[in-house]
Subunit: 384 residues, 4 copies
């Protein structure tokens, strides 16, 4: 276990520090304004020119100097009216209180005790405005956003939203596996995915429907021909064909079928994907560990603009658990921005925000000004 | 390991079954329409009056009778043009193919091989229309929906949406812990939660802000008084006070503070919660394992209407992982309907659907008719 | 929302039921032995020949008939000495108390209110004895256990344990992807996996080590030749080569390299896997969603013994979260037995139990007698 | 989105850098030894005294200078025999290749591109030797390890192992909630937990067994008296009573009962816990979010030795998901060391390692020498 040295109190900024200030608690269980709030790290308080450590250290508490001159860490609820409570915000000694952060947290935490520093967490807010703005910016400047999706996006009800993004010019290329296309096509032909209805019910005889969907496309010869022949009438693959958005379907060993368009050789599949990743100016990875990591592997962390300047390649990774995003980062895709949520909900809200921002830009002629031109209810929502 | 008997082929429905029908594959890798799609269970095919088991059984494949009279399970892609493929949908022998389901799946699967039968999964679609409709129905008939929330709802950006539900009459009572109120009040006073900004950044000095927020409320004496004094100016607790929606804040051993309104004794806390659960006609549990299970413990699975009739008590449980919902069911709250998603997104979309449905009901005078009276863009969205 | 009818009290078993029995509580907060413990379902108590529903229904409580003849559901802690508490265990009315289970739970719960009925949960005990016994049985009778593993098994410290299972005859065939072999070989050559040391530290320059490992094998021409040439000196792939255990490495689009032995075409990969799954008499799937589902797809749920009799094909699925096991079941592999744990720990304990059981069988000539004679092999295990 | 400047090539270490070296690939798809392995960050290669960026940047690939003098990032499998491949390990320019790390990763990644840098992951190896060593060290020097456990530990089969740790002097105090004691006592009296057997089966009538267990202890008056009276005959609480290990059971709003020993007031509960945390020299937090965070809140990150020196307070946090550990860190317990695994398996292996290390220390008189003399105690373990 690591051991630590006490700070060097002869150092200039500590030697010159003033005594800590104490103020009386205004009431039982109420602290004076500006009280010092403790951490769980070694803490030194200057009293009468001497640095002292309080007893019973813990975080989220106050520093109390009792009548006997003893210094305690005390929970605010236990402080009585009139007790002397240390005040100050500084943790660097400049107000007489020094928190020995460096020894414990090192440089990685920037030398400060903080909460909520984890990189990926379901407790972090999701900034849909920013993502919507990025997508519109990319479309406006002719960027090439690569979307990479997993089958959960189709099982849930995000299929219509994905179709909308394709139809409206937000998708440079779609990279996915056989399953995404199979579920999407089963949904178009039979209204189910793996036999599950849109309300989540397993249907009788449903276990064979994806095989029947595949069979129809194999009979047609390709997805594009199945669209032409009216076998596939809506959905993600339909939108790609109709709007001429390129797609790459790569095979995996869990594939049924596969569909005729699937590239079954992994190396050929990587080459096909790379023809799009080398052009990518943004990446949106939704509900897929395998394809997200595959894409992350071949994606630079940056975009080289035509003038030679560099910018980060925005990489959004959406998954139900923190694990996939962490794994992606652990494989080197440090620039990934994690969104821990359900694919259905993500797609639905992202579309809503894009629609709002689009309307705002159309109305005002100015980007980033979503609140204005929108309808009253939407405007109210936008203020949140 | 369990062993199984072969079916009783002398039984009426099997003895009287016809031979299975076979049709020629129309092309390489393409099956005839109506092909039989296999499962992984013991399967018997009647050929020449005799029940036979195919070789190399697996799911998602076809039954092929080869030139030598050998019967195979064969992946569709491996079937050649002209090969004889079994057709039929029935698995009960009535078309000459019998799947021995009962032995393996028993009654619990209703005697049929199906996919997607798990009760709780992030891959299941979320029916926001139904939930929105339920909430409006409850409000219309003067029901008493109990909302139970955890702190993740406040860390993320769902705070404004929760406030909206309170302000608009959808909340009979709010049951939560100290942390929900503390984060909500910190957000109102300082714009952060545990020092994290609305964009997810940890702020310098932020670790003490929740303690400062608590201190201000303790100084005021109660949440209601802090609202009156203008210390708390918006958010969830503010809305409860302003709209006279009762709330119960119960304590836990991880509490900081606590706030003056918190009932720190668990038994007293349970009594206070129960004063609301006995009146509950619906329950919405968001992002909290502890409080969701506590509420589930004291909630009947049913509502007794004033005429003595019974109906299920709709119980929605929202969490980022399947585990909390399964745990709730494992503790007896079988009626819980699980939604596996992020609290921020859930609240945001639920509100959107309630607003749409509300507008539709207002416009048409008829419930359930959301597409009509809504604004054009919303109508387009509703058609999805 | 579903509504429910009250039960038919004219039915024979309810019409003939006795009145419920009540006994006095022996002390404050203490119930009489044999008290009736409530559920959250509609409950009817026969008093004076009439079926009545208690007030304030909830689970985990008692039925109290108060002095005014009012019937309450009351938490045990609130019961006072001398109060009359219903006794009995039967919920079918035969002791005067009827729980209306069928209406709510249907057949799927076998008509009884129970806790802990979820199929897959980290809260379920893991029966290592049973699994160890199965593995030894398979080896003893010349079975063909197919092992399917993901890379987490190698990142963690389960590599040595997997090697042991291969070396000791418990593995019929190993099915995996490129990553398992790459990490295993990097560990043999450089002592790291993706540059991470055995103590979990990321090393300087480590990000290239898996590429260097692949390069060395590509230079050798194959894994077997790299073993022969002394490039690979220990680990999983080494053990497969040395002990002539067949392995199939199938490609995926996230592969680096790949290694020369990897079958990059998904269809060819499936054929290669199937050559082993058709012979499988047991399956162990560890820490892999992709390969577990791929194998589940092609695995029958049963084994046909040489005498034509059928038994279940034991299928163990190990993962850190409930989701993978549920997903596997949702794709039709109903027979899968889920173990929710860490791959490292699973392998370590399973090996320990197999060693014990093996020693017991060797020592006593009797299966299942693990306690005896275990010392020598356990000591060997301790040296790892 | 962030933009970045190119590095300052006039800076001393870049201006003075040599040209990059290239070597011929020895065979198709095989790179020269010492090849440079790329990252996804902006990379500059010095050729003819000029810094150039390669085309098609991606990670895990090589740098190839083609016959036309064009510089490419190329996957190793695509490199042909004789092509010129950059060699070198340095990324700081000193061998003619500069990776522009600082711009992207900043200080937080120590200026180097690495894999596997996440703090908490199920893919990280678990160092049981270290933990066992720490526990023995604490016992040897009279430390005060505080154990904090959740109910999953009792549902699974870790109950016997926890009992062993208590009985053998490794537990200074046990901090838990009502549920841990209720499940433990139900297991002692009825052999079930929440009605679930040791093999994971839900039993008929089982849903009331925890209430019957509580009732028996309430009748006895306390856990200690129930032990004295022979009502509780084994398990965790029994061991605490018999071995005089202090325990604190704190209440929560989801409690049934509660047991007589439970402190139902959260503030009193915190005071009771703190009487132990102020003495803690180590903390082991297993399978509990609520109690782990509560304990983390009141635990200093350090121990002050009697000579005034400081060392880290070893804090082990075990949970099935990364989330609890991240949450604990996000609440300021930065020193927590996360173990992502199942509670049953953790306890089982930890005990095994402690037994081995203990035997080694006893046998050899030297710590850390676990291999020797381990037989007797391990055999005892095998009897469980």
């Amino acid at each position: 276990m690591p051991t630590f040295s006490h700070p060097d109190f002869a150092a200039q900024h500590l030697a010159a520090a003033p005594d800590a200030r104490f103020e009386a608690a205004p009431a039982d269980g109420v602290l004076p304004e500006g009280f010092f709030s403790t951490t769980n790290l070694p803490t030194y308080v200057r009293i009468g020119g001497r640095w002292r450590m309080p007893r019973e250290p813990r975080m989220d508490a106050s520093l109390v100097l009792d009548a006997e001159g003893e210094l305690w860490v005390k929970e605010p609820r236990r402080v009585r009216k009139g007790e002397r409570v240390a005040v100050g915000y500084a943790e660097d000694g400049s107000e007489g209180i020094f928190v020995h952060t460096a020894a414990f947290l090192g440089d990685s935490e920037e030398g400060e005790f903080k909460f909520m520093t984890s990189e990926v967490s379901r407790e972090k807010p999701i900034d849909y405005s920013l993502m919507a703005s990025l997508l519109l910016d990319e479309r406006d400047r002719g960027g090439y956003p690569v979307w990479v999706t997993g089958p959960a996006l189709v099982h849930s009800r995000a299929r219509a939203d994905m179709t909308w993004f394709i139809a409206n010019g937000f998708v440079g290329a779609l990279l996915a596996g056989n399953a995404v296309a199979v579920h999407d096509i089963e949904a178009s032909i039979f209204g189910t995915t793996l036999g599950m209805t849109r309300t989540g019910e397993a249907t009788s005889g449903g276990h064979g429907l994806h095989m029947r969907a595949i069979n129809k496309v194999r009979a047609a010869g390709s997805i594009a021909r199945a669209v032409e022949q009216g076998v596939i009438t809506d959905g993600i693959m339909h939108a790609c064909v109709v709007h001429a958005v390129p797609f790459v379907l790569t095979g995996s060993i869990r594939d049924d079928g596969p569909l005729p368009d699937v590239i079954t050789d992994a190396i050929e599949g990587q080459e096909a994907m790379k023809r799009h990743t080398v052009k990518a100016t943004m990446a949106v990875l939704v509900a897929t560990a395998l394809h997200a990591i595959a894409t992350g592997n071949m994606l630079p962390a940056f975009v080289t603009e035509s003038d030679g300047s560099l910018r980060e390649l925005p990489t959004i990774c959406v998954d139900s658990s923190e694990f996939v995003v962490s794994k992606l980062k652990d494989r080197g895709t440090h620039q990934a921005f994690g969104v821990v949520t359900n694919a259905q909900d993500f797609m639905h809200i992202l579309r809503l925000y894009v629609e709002r921002e689009q309307a705002a830009r159309a109305g005002s002629g100015r980007p980033g000004d979503a609140a204005r031109g929108a309808a009253p209810r939407v405007a109210a929502a936008a203020r949140k």
